[in-house]
């Protein structure tokens, strides 16, 4: 039986140069009759890091779920030139890997078994993983400094270690597009930086494309090439971090009182207590 190598190229035919990794045109999503996203446009170039921001309930996670193929796939989404709806689920899983906001940690599961789950799209239905799959997992674990962890039980790891294991599973999937839903929300500030630096390093080394949602605006701005601000299901701003992270936009859409100061890697957003009227 022919098995795909552990390579990271998408399983579909090589898209033409300049084809974006993600193209969303006029996406509408309604859940239970309530519109969540309305006419959303989004383009992510290959190798780019785009971060979606927006207040609670703006539809950030829904947008990520739609791109990841977890919602009834509308025609609005194209991945590497192929309409998402035309991709079989297994094939999509070889192109797109998702790290959920708070992934389920199955009780008792070892790190090795957990990361092996990432090989699922390469393992024949009803089959079992090959030594090549196990080797691919060990290679990923080594790359993320998790080499000694493979026998450990996932549930016993610290938050930062866990986040690296979640990333390892996504990398083991061999996908070139990484969807990260609040990748740092469970971490302290040092581990937040560790994880984002790691993602950025992997992105540069392996030509990954990153689409993330984040709440911490300063951090988001330091790592993203471009940002998209959602509010009430619509795109209200898109562009480079300095274009999106402005005091006016944040006041309008977050109803936040902030000061934006320039930083070395992007604008820094500092909350300021509002003056009482």
């Amino acid at each position: 039986m022919s098995r795909e190598p552990a390579g990271r190229e998408p399983a579909s035919r090589e898209p033409a140069a300049g084809t974006p990794a993600v193209e969303v045109r006029g996406l509408h999503v309604a859940l239970g009759g309530t519109p969540i996203l309305t006419g959303v446009d989004l383009t992510v170039a290959v190798g780019e890091w785009v971060t979606v921001i927006g207040p609670n309930g703006a539809g950030k996670s829904t947008l990520l779920r739609a791109v990841g193929g977890l919602l009834p796939a509308p025609k609005a989404i194209t991945l590497f030139g192929t309409p998402s709806a035309a991709l079989r689920r297994r094939d999509r899983a070889r192109i797109v890997a998702t790290v959920a906001q708070s992934p389920v940690v199955p009780p008792g599961m070892s790190v090795l078994d957990y990361v092996l789950l990432g090989r699922t799209p390469y393992i024949p239905t009803l089959g079992r993983e090959s030594t090549a799959d196990v080797d691919a997992v060990h290679e990923v674990l080594g790359r993320l400094d998790l080499a000694g962890f493979h026998r450990r039980e996932l549930a016993t790891l610290s938050g930062g270690e866990r986040q690296r294991v979640f990333l390892a599973r996504a990398l083991a999937q061999g996908a070139t597009l990484l969807l990260l839903d609040e990748p740092t929300s469970a971490l302290d500030i040092g581990h937040q930086q560790d994880v984002l630096e790691l993602v950025d390093q992997l992105r540069r080394e392996h030509g990954l494309t990153v689409l993330a949602t984040m709440h911490d605006l300063s951090l988001a701005g330091e790592y993203a090439d471009r940002m998209v601000m959602l509010a009430a299901g619509r795109v209200v701003a898109a562009g480079t971090p300095p274009e999106v992270l402005t005091e006016e936009l944040l006041a309008t859409h977050y109803r936040a009182s902030v000061r934006v100061v320039p930083g070395a890697h992007g604008p820094l957003v500092v909350p300021v207590r509002p003056t009482r009227p």
């Binding site: 779920r65 990841g68 193929g69 977890l70 689920r89 297994r90 094939d91 999509r92 899983a93 070889r94 797109v96 890997a97 998702t98 959920a100 992934p103 389920v104 199955p106 009780p107 008792g108 599961m109 070892s110 078994d113 957990y114 789950l117 990432g118 699922t120 799209p121 393992i123 009803l126 089959g127 079992r128 993983e129 999937q173």
Partner: protein, 342 residues
């Protein structure tokens, strides 16, 4: 691999012990020789008399083999339900599946006259199919009721729904038993779980369904590991979780139905065995499921030895023995699973 060897050894031990012990005790070595003689081309001198050989091959062996099959099926179904529902307490009995199968068998006997000869032996081959229909009805009711509590329902809701469904279907069964008391005498012993009257026809009755269930469930053991991370993540890994879930529920329910139609209501095997395997060999369903099949068989065959020797010359119903063991075990699982359930 070493767990596979351990499981096979357990099955062999259960086989020899189960055939050796009884009102007439036979030396295990002779029994082992006689069992080997069943293979074509093997001729060993076991030193047993004609009558003793008949006890081995016609009385005890079918009983032990049926115990192995039924125990394996119930444990496999339990492990499968636990994975499918992501619920440590899922079990053919607690989900009401066994009660559904029991009601269907009782109805088939009471209304269809399948038990006319005054014994359950020689049941038509359709009885397991009726039981399958009953078990599917029950598991559907439990699933729908259990999910009604929320968007997907909590693990505790599912078990409570199972208890309610179980009580409801058992009441239906009791009603049938009352109304058809005369034609249904044999069902009483069957209700408490019985292996006592097992013959080769019972084994043949269960075997095809057991084979089908085993093949389907074991082929999906890796998919059950993927389901452990939740439906969304399973989907983004390329799986069709709901499709897999329905197929596995049907397979586990078929196995339960076959077990129930052959031996009646034997509870707790589906809780005791998979959890013990989990403690010993880890949490991956790739290991849990085949080991549950082997150790479940060995467990029930050995429990049957206890049931028929502890109060000799009379026999305890085997369902009573598994319940005596399973009750305390269930409390233990409940205590460790508290975090998952709330």
């Amino acid at each position: 691999m070493r767990w596979l060897v351990a499981g096979l050894v357990a099955v062999l031990v259960a086989l020899v012990v189960g055939v050796s012990l009884g009102p007439v005790s036979l030396p295990p070595g002779s029994v082992a020789a006689e069992l080997l003689n069943l293979f074509p081309g093997v001729h060993l001198d076991s030193g047993l008399t004609e009558r003793e050989i008949a006890i081995v091959t016609e009385l005890r062996l079918p009983r032990v083999v049926l115990g192995l099959l039924v125990g394996g099926l119930l444990a496999l179904a339990g492990g499968c339900y636990q994975g499918v529902f992501r619920n440590p307490l899922a079990d053919p009995y607690l989900l009401g599946v066994a009660a559904g199968a029991g009601l269907a068998v009782t109805a088939a006997i009471a209304l269809g006259g399948a038990g006319r000869q005054g014994t359950l032996s020689g049941l038509p081959m359709t009885i397991p199919l009726a039981a399958f229909a009953g078990s599917l009805l029950a598991v559907t009711m439990t699933y729908v009721l259990g999910a009604a509590g929320g968007r997907r329902g909590s693990p505790a809701m599912l078990i409570l729904a199972g208890v309610a469904v179980s009580a409801f279907l058992s009441a239906g069964q009791t009603y049938l038993l009352q109304r058809h008391a005369d034609s249904i005498q044999p069902v009483y012993s069957w209700l408490l779980g019985r292996l006592a009257t097992a013959g080769w026809h019972d084994v043949l009755l269960v075997l095809p369904y057991a084979a089908l269930t085993t093949v389907v469930v074991l082929l999906h053991r890796r998919e059950l590991d993927v389901l452990a991370v939740g439906d969304d993540e399973a989907r983004s890994l390329g799986l069709h979780p709901q499709r897999t879930r329905y197929l596995l529920i049907a397979a586990a329910s078929l196995g339960t139905a076959a077990a129930v139609s052959a031996t009646g209501l034997i509870g707790f095997v589906g809780i005791i065995v998979p959890h013990t395997v989990r403690l010993l060999a880890g949490s991956s369903y790739r290991v849990i499921l085949p080991m549950s099949l082997l150790f479940g068989g060995a467990f029930l065959a050995l429990t049957d030895v206890v049931a028929r020797t502890v109060a000799a010359p009379s026999e305890l119903p085997i369902g009573v023995v598994t319940a005596l063991l399973g009750g305390p075990f269930f409390v233990l699982v409940l205590r460790t699973a508290r975090r998952v359930l709330t």
